[in-house]
């Protein structure tokens, strides 16, 4: 069973995504902030990360992405980034930092997210 880590600060979105992923047969881990996300990646060793860019506290999504790519063990880990409405600069920046794919949350349904997850776990 593949393991997916959700790094998302909104509780409701986090729970919806977790529920959907579980329905699709994935094992789900969650983190509500950047620092927690970096810790979870090391301890839970997920197969894919769903990463929100806007996270509270010191470390945002970009910082998490950098940390993931800096670590030899997770250098090629698929990371699907949740970018925000209208923040086109985010996509460029995330791309440069090595994000695997992008999704504007409000533009897609969770079924679309599932399709991306499945595609990147092949």
């Amino acid at each position: 069973m593949k393991k997916v880590l959700i790094v998302e600060d909104d509780e409701f979105l986090r729970s919806l995504a977790a529920k959907r992923l579980e329905q699709e047969g994935y094992e789900v881990k969650t983190a509500a902030g950047g620092e927690a996300g970096i810790t979870a990646i090391k301890s839970d060793k997920p197969d894919l990360i769903l990463l929100d860019l806007l996270l509270p506290g010191g470390k945002d999504g970009f910082a998490v992405l950098e940390a993931v790519r800096a670590d030899e063990a997770t250098k090629s880990l698929p990371v699907v980034v949740f970018s925000n409405l209208g923040e086109r600069g985010d996509i460029e920046k995330a791309s440069k930092l090595g994000a695997t794919d992008f999704l504007v949350k409000a533009n897609f349904t969770l079924d679309d997210v599932m399709a991306k997850v499945a595609a990147h776990l092949k």
Binding site: L13, L16, G86, E87
Partner: protein
């Protein structure tokens, strides 16, 4: 002295005569001056006076008036500069407002959309067919909101990025061909003829922003496709009739055999968010921003855009100066 004795009376007479001449001349001059000064108009500030001392006074007056006018102009300049600064601040504040608002909308919008979709897909429990129809309607509304917010952001970005135009030499033929290729599929699905009529000789390169120019063509051609019924024709033409005009410009026409634009709507067609009733009836999805953006972009290049419409269809024409006349 004794020699002059016999002429004494003659000399006296001569002296008296001379004295008389001088006195009467002086008196006469004074008399003339009085007349002149009384009769000349003194209503104007710069009344002409024969006396040179008064001339100096009027010149002084003139100088004072000039200085006052200059001061008033300078004051106006400062006013205008302040007004400009206020406008720039307003524009910045507006952009920030749009960015912050859409930012704050993203999470609740995603929450609603994801939930509604899971509901309708039966992923949150069984849902009756009747319930499903309501949920789907709600989902449609959410999609509409997302679309509006996305478009608001696009418009705002374009307005805010007006200094972000990058002008480079552009081959108009290439851009048109590329857009036509991009829109082939939607045209074909309506069995429309999508035709490009370039000139026998390629047009000179136009200095323009290629991405924004592409948007204009996409909006015009996509509109033509949307609002032309099946089996119609959309023709894109290039025209060199204004290459010798001032400013030297190329002319592009997008002609369709579609619905046409009603005279009542003509004045509003370029307005932000305006959609004619007939357009909405034919194509419920549409933001009403395409022509607004096209006009903004063309005018930013120093060109003009207009249309002719009738029962046989509509032709949109725009001019594009070879070298942008930047507004």
């Amino acid at each position: 002295m004794n020699l002059l004795a016999p002429y004494a009376s003659l000399i006296t007479l001569l002296l008296a005569f001379l004295l008389g001449m001088v006195v009467s001349y002086l008196l006469y001059r004074r008399h003339l001056l009085a007349i002149v000064n009384r009769r000349l108009p003194t209503a104007t500030n710069t009344g002409f006076k024969v006396n040179s001392q008064d001339n100096v006074a009027s010149l002084k007056k003139l100088n004072e008036n000039l200085a006052a006018s200059t001061r008033s102009l300078q004051a106006k300049e400062v006013e205008l500069s302040l007004a400009n600064q206020r406008l720039e601040k307003l524009e910045e504040a507006k952009s920030k407002f749009v960015a912050v608002t859409t930012h704050q909308l993203r999470t609740p919008l995603a929450a609603i959309k994801w939930t509604l979709h899971m509901l309708t897909a039966g992923q949150l429990g069984a849902v009756t067919p009747e319930q499903k129809t309501f949920i789907d309607k709600a989902f449609e509304s959410t999609e509409r909101i997302v679309s509006i917010v996305n478009n608001l952001l696009t418009v705002d970005k374009i307005e805010a990025e007006s200094s972000d135009y990058t002008f480079i030499p552009v081959h108009l033929e290439e851009v048109v061909e590329s857009v036509i290729f991009e829109l082939k599929a939607p045209a074909q699905s309506k069995y429309l003829n999508l035709i490009f009529k370039p000139l026998a000789q390629p047009l000179p390169e136009v200095t323009a922003d290629p991405i924004k120019l592409r948007m204009v063509l996409e909006n015009l051609i996509d509109n033509a496709i949307k609002y032309t019924p099946q089996h119609g024709t959309v023709t894109v033409t290039l025209d060199d009739s204004r290459l010798n005009a001032t400013p030297a410009s190329v002319v592009v026409k997008v002609q369709d055999t579609g619905l046409g634009i009603k005279p009542a709507d003509e004045g509003k067609i370029f307005q932000k968010f305006f959609r004619a009733e007939s357009a909405v009836a034919m194509e419920p999805d549409g933001t009403g921003l395409g022509l607004y953006l096209a006009k903004d972009i063309i005018e930013h290049h120093g060109g003009t855009i207009w249309f002719d419409s009738g029962s046989g269809g509509t032709t949109f024409t725009f001019t594009l100066p070879l070298r942008p006349v930047v507004v």
